[in-house]
Symmetry: D3
Subunit: 248 residues, 6 copies
């Protein structure tokens, strides 16, 4: 039995509050247990230099934590003068994951910039950021679609993410901070609404893992992600109906 009384394959309570920011084109306040992240989407009618004139769009992401999002205070990266490797790794992951479900040609020459700011951290901040970032992006594209006539709807599928791990021999879904800090194997999985893998990042620094354990980890992740995508669909409602429409 887990500290919070959860089953090994049970998510923490998920809560998504949409349009919490009065300026952003899309925004969501997402909670997974005590992990809380603000995700905003900003539409910029320009693209990075390497894409200019190609008729394609881009999705970019930045990630940060408030200094006291964690047990002890973390120095600000703005004060240190540079991003940590961890931050860079996470924001590259978020951007890559979102782009996997966006038809950049259909989006046209514009950038959607996603900001994920962790207000409180209790494990799974990168996976929660991805799940929330997708919702903020979906809201921004839905809003865009009122003014821009897309030949194809730019979002091709739903997308969510969850962490799984091995703790004292058990495979657990959606680890909180305490569990995560004791886990021997730690894996982050990103999947689409149609059940395909976009990212699988497993690390066994403390204990290498077998092919069988890997299978069990992925199974737990599949279940968790399916539930998260249901929650996204419910939260987005009408704003999500055209997602993946071009696949039909």
């Amino acid at each position: 039995m887990r500290t919070e009384g959860r089953l090994s394959n049970q998510l923490r309570p998920v809560k998504m509050t949409l349009d919490t920011n009065k300026y952003a084109e899309g925004s969501v306040w997402i909670e997974m247990g005590d992990t809380r992240v603000i995700c905003t989407a900003t539409v910029d009618e320009r693209v990075p230099p390497f894409l200019k004139g190609q008729g394609k769009g881009w999705i970019n992401a930045e990630y940060a934590m408030l200094p006291r999002a964690t047990h002890s205070r973390n120095p600000r990266e703005s004060v240190r003068g540079k991003l940590t490797g961890r931050t860079m790794e996470i924001q590259r992951l978020i951007g890559r994951a979102l782009r996997s479900v966006v038809d950049l040609q259909a989006l046209g020459e514009r950038t959607i910039m996603i900001d994920c700011d962790v207000i409180q951290a209790d494990g799974g901040t990168r996976t929660t950021s991805i799940t929330g970032a997708f919702v903020a992006m979906a809201l921004a594209v839905h809003k865009l679609s009122r003014n821009v006539k897309f030949a194809r709807y730019p979002i091709t599928d739903y997308l969510a993410s969850v962490s799984v791990g091995v703790l004292q021999g058990d495979v657990l879904l959606d680890l909180n901070y305490e569990e995560d800090s004791k886990a021997k194997v730690d894996m982050n999985v990103v999947m689409t609404g149609s059940g395909k893998f976009v990212e699988v990042q497993g690390t066994g620094e403390d204990a290498p893992f077998s092919r069988a354990e890997l299978g069990s980890l992925l199974e737990h992740a599949e279940g968790g992600i399916a539930a998260l995508i249901e929650a996204q669909k419910e939260a987005l409602g009408a704003a999500g109906t055209r997602i993946g429409a071009q696949r039909a």
Copy 2:
């Protein structure tokens, strides 16, 4: 009549939600109209090098805005690699203002680090940060006082801040973003619970101001700050009763 139907000497609705962060020693979510700031206080049992061994404590503050706290997205200072002059100016102001109501000797050799993070900005983010920072600090000192036997209570008075300005010839209290961007004179005032000035920062870049206007601006500020200090007292309740006790 102001855009929001306010009188010239009327504050926007103020809301303070205490202890919103599960890790920080003190925290508050403060709203002044659509301006929203998270203030946390972290107690660190060390002092900066220049104070070591003097038996005195320190109060420090940092300030930042989420990228999409504003109409258009602002680049992160962590990505730029350095703080802007505006940020430095504001966090120096917050720290200085808080220290004016703290008996650093009584606090003992420890630092209280205040973080003010603007979630949404609609004018008055620095003054709202100071008003909220005081509350977060008060909560942290109150919590400290359960374990540390203070000879004198370290907080000597209440403290709050508000902006005032001159817009089309009228002196206005607590300007929102739209008003602020049109104001000819802009002033930030910090005062104590006993009605004394801690900071007066007035600037008339677009139109120098007279001694009479200065008087009227300060009068408006005094009224607004008195109301904010009432709100702080109500919010803090029992946690605020020993503030200024040493003065008796």
Copy 3:
């Protein structure tokens, strides 16, 4: 009686030597007692990106101290790799103050860049910099006016600055370093030739101040600034006669 035998409302000896730099469009070596600052004005026939194509000019300022301008040596900001908050605050203040007496439309699309470099510091370096910066700017605009036909003369008024403070209960004008380091209240005031306030920055970190004290501080500042503006007029001579001409 003050250490130098000055009265409470007496300035230190002021000395301005004009055109000390053979390359700059305007330059002055200014001394207030032992505080010495070199101010130069550089005319650049471009404007910052945010002003391009608007037919308006800009005034910018930078401020620095030589490492051994002070009692103990200060590390160079170029070696630290970034400006301190204090420097940023001061150079923002200088630029803002100067712009308050410049008709940017009349100046036309060009920038005047002011450099204030403190050769020796004995209190009041930021106020002395403003007083000197005005003179350097006035010289540069006067020189410009020989080649550029201004519809209106771009400088609309004189401008100078002085510090005031409260020391052992007395209000003092133009504090030197020793006085400044003991003062409880510290205020910098910038005023125009027509006696209006451009900046009022008072701070009572060590002892909050009352409305009455504020009044007395401003009175001292007014007297000091009037004397400084007389000194500027005398130094500029013919180069200053068109200042404020458009007001008539």
Copy 4:
């Protein structure tokens, strides 16, 4: 048939030249086809601050590419003034992977610093770096063991890494640059001598992948890594015989 005439599950020619650096405690020049990396191991009799006094050691890694290791010249990170996200990600991966086969307690309070410098890049630079880094580390520990009496031999297992990918529907082992740039799915795998996974990092930015494809990718990786570990054993010879000895 692949451009170089290789089978889908065939490695490029591997070449390891040991002790190529006259100063380093361990060094190897490793080639995988046209990819060439110099790996050196430096023993430092100190540990990072967070480990001081715990009787444990540490393994750290840094990674870089010469500017003209690639088709077009890359600007130096030293000139840019900061590391790219890609570099940070790779060096964190190398360090984490190596630590998974080191008994840090057995190593004692010292750090082994691994430097991987890519001389020429033709795909697989991060996996080649890991395979070479293991050899350099093994040489350094072997050398250390002549002077330090280890209670247990600190290296607990062999370790190597390879890339796999999906290109035009085929799963391929050890992609060169040309193949890598066209692959839809890209995966890096790190495994131990006993056939366990240490890192699995798969990304399908261009085309999400199924569970079945994942299985096939891992199978190819297992074969490739087993062959690389054979090559490491042969290269290390006597210097590798005590690796994993404590497991017995």
Copy 5:
């Protein structure tokens, strides 16, 4: 007798391996004793901003050492976030020296970028870099000349460099690290194929030197450089025949 059994005016064994990099327009692996440097030349069909539109080309150089090129490991400049003064000085020297034998007008509006990366350092890394850089540049220009019809051949003369020093009263040629660290006078000389001086940089921090010693140092340098230029000619073969052709 020197540690390696060399005479005072004898170079260490020189070895140049050409075209070691499959991407660069010119490359050489150069060894002087145990000092090893990789030099690559990259042709860029652009010039720096200050040369745009003048019909002239440019030669630029960068220099770095691998962290473990030296006895004890040096921190990476990319990790420190800035270049050391030593690196800047060396790369400015390399660029300046190469430009002295290039007719920039004849080269046309393009830049040749030279990278010198020290793989192993045993004294004389800057002089070896210059000697190797010349060869890499010569290869790149020779390759260019197949596609570009030069009015005059852009390389006007051969160029090489060597160090000389005074050790225990003796003047020595081409010092290794051990000799260099004990030398009282240290001098780097760059000369052309026609026997003229391009750079003479002598420093007697530990013992000022006389005019006579200077003469003897230059004599040793002349002999060493003549031998190095012979080695360059042999290595370049046909690729070097047009060098200096315009002088005829």
Copy 6:
């Protein structure tokens, strides 16, 4: 005949004003024609980490130019966030040169920090800085000698520096900016009071030079430096009498 009517071997007017800074242990305002430099010496009773506990002292130097010291304004290095290669090269040169005439053992465990700040630049700023830096250092050591009982006087000889160059076939001493910008060969020489060379840095980027030209350049430099050392002796007076005393 030179622009200023000077002979080829004639220095510009030299002026040294001592003790211009009220805080520094030694200071001089030095002028060579229109080149003006403030040199200050700061005594710090600590040494850099690499010298701790060795009973030896250190001399360090920093160099900078005010932004408008030159024809057109140079951006501040503090704003750029890093030193240019030119600045680093110059300050390394100044420190090295001064150390050549200091007995670091005799100085004892303390550092003398020299700051050279160019107020106005008209050629020869680095050589003028060295000549002035020596005077500031001599004043600081003389002042130190009143409180510290030196076994041997730490300054072993006088030291000065001058530039020489080849312009239109003529060898010229002490080039001003206009001459310097047209010179084909440019050389900076540092010599001691006893006529030995400390630094010889000659560069012929635009035209390599012969052994004969080098001889003539050095001859001109010797004459100029002898005159500068006379001027130093006169300026220092009694403060310079013990310089080199230990040599007797």
